[in-house]
Subunit: 233 residues, 2 copies
C-alpha cells in the first residue's frame, strides 16, 4: 500500500507557504499527468507548471509514484465530495418534476462530470486504471457505486410518492446517468467542453426521455409531445 504514505503526508501542513506550494504541486501534477499520461509526464514539467523547483517536488512527495498517488486520491476525494453535495439537491418533493430533474441533471453534469476535476479523474483512471487497480479501488466503491445507489434511493422514494413508475430503481438510476451523459462522451475523449446551452439542451432531452419511460402520467407526456410536434409542423 505504497500510496498510504502520500495520504497521511497530507495531514501535516506546517507553515503557510509550505502548504501553498504543496497544493500548487498537486494541482500542477493533476494537469500534467492528465495531459501527458503517467510516463509522458516528467517532474520538471510539473515543477515548472507549479512554479517551484524540482527539488521541492521531491521534498514534498518523495518520488513520482507517490506524487501520482497523492494526485489521484486528492482528485478522487474532491470529486466524491462534490457528487454528494449535488446529490443533496435532488428534488425530493417536486412541484414540477420535469423542470426540477433537468436542473438537477445540469448541476450534476456541470459540477461532477464535466468540470476540471471530473475530467482529470476520468483521464487518470482511463490511462492508469488498468495498471494500478488498487489505487482506484476507493473511487470505484466510494464514487460511482455510492452515487448510483444514493440516486437509486431517491428515485425509489419518488416512485413511492407516486411521481414515478419504475420496476427497478437501480437500473433507472444508471439509465438516468447514461442518458444525461449521452452527448458528453465524444467531447470528453478529446478533452473538449460542452457549452452551457448544449449542456442544458442535452439534459432536457435526457430527462424528457427518462420521464417518457418512467413518468407516472406517460400518456399525458405522450400527448404533450404530439402537441408540440403538431405545433412545430
Amino acid at each position: 500500500m505504497f500510496f498510504m504514505d502520500a495520504i497521511n503526508a497530507t495531514d501535516r501542513l506546517p507553515t503557510r507557504g509550505h502548504a501553498a506550494k504543496r497544493l500548487s504541486i498537486l494541482e500542477a501534477g493533476a494537469r500534467v499527468f492528465c495531459r501527458e499520461g503517467y510516463s509522458g509526464a516528467n517532474i520538471d514539467m510539473i515543477a515548472a507548471e507549479a512554479a517551484v523547483s524540482r527539488q521541492t517536488v521531491y521534498n514534498h512527495y518523495g518520488d513520482k509514484d507517490k506524487l501520482f498517488a497523492a494526485v489521484v486520491t486528492e482528485i478522487t476525494q474532491r470529486c466524491n465530495a462534490r457528487s454528494f453535495e449535488v446529490l443533496a439537491t435532488f428534488p425530493d418533493q417536486p412541484e414540477n418534476l420535469e423542470n426540477e430533474l433537468i436542473a438537477f441533471a445540469v448541476r450534476l453534469t456541470r459540477n461532477c462530470l464535466c468540470d476540471e476535476d471530473g475530467k482529470y479523474l476520468r483521464k487518470l483512471i482511463q490511462s492508469e486504471g488498468e495498471r494500478h487497480p488498487q489505487l482506484f479501488a476507493g473511487w470505484r466503491t466510494d464514487g460511482p457505486g455510492k452515487v448510483w445507489s444514493a440516486l437509486a434511493a431517491r428515485f425509489a422514494r419518488l416512485a413511492y410518492a407516486g411521481h414515478l413508475d419504475l420496476d427497478d430503481p437501480d437500473i433507472a438510476a444508471r439509465q438516468f446517468l447514461a442518458l444525461v451523459n449521452t452527448e458528453l462522451q465524444i467531447p470528453a475523449l478529446f478533452g473538449e467542453k460542452l457549452e452551457s446551452s448544449r449542456l442544458q439542451e442535452t439534459a432536457a432531452c435526457a430527462v424528457r426521455t427518462f420521464l417518457r419511460a418512467y413518468g407516472r402520467n406517460r400518456s399525458d407526456s405522450q400527448e404533450m409531445a404530439r402537441g408540440e410536434r403538431a405545433l412545430r409542423a
Copy 2:
C-alpha cells in the same frame, strides 16, 4: 500529415513472411500502446511481443510515431468496417421489435464496443486524442458520426412504418446507444469485459426502457411491465 506515409506504406506487401511480420508488429503495437500508453510503450516491448527483432520494427514502420499512426488508422478502419456490418443487420421489418432490437444491441456491443479493437481504439483515443487530434479526426467523422446518422435513419424509417413514436430520430439514436452502453462504462475504464449474460441483460433493460419511451403502444408495454411486477410479487 506525417501519418499519410504510414497509410500508403501498407500498400506494398511483397512476400508472404514479410506481410505476416508487418501485421504481427501492428497487432503487438496495438496491444502495447493500449496497455502502456504512447510514452510508456517502447519499441523493444513491441518487438518482443511481435516475436520480431527491434530492427525489423524500424524497417517496417520507420519510427515510433509512424508506427503509432499506422496502428491507429488500422484499428479505426477495422472498427468502422465492423460497425457498418452490424448496422446492416438492423431490424427494418421487425416481427417482434423488442426481441430484435435487443439482439441488435447485443451484436453492436459485442462486435463494436466491447471487442478487442473497440477497447484498443477507445484507450488510444482517450490517451492520445487530446495530443493528436488530426490523427483521430477521421475516426470522429467516419466512425461515430456516420454510425449515429445511419442508426437515426433506421429509427426514422421504423417510426414512419408505425413501429416507433419519436420526435427526433437523431436524439433517439444517440440515446439508444447511451442506454446500451450503460453498464459498459466502468468496466471499460479498467479494461475489464462484461460476461455474456450481463451483456444480454443490459441490452434487454436498455431496449425495454427505450421502447417505454419511444414505443408505439406505450400503454401496452406499461401494462405488461405492471403485469410482470405483479407476477414477481
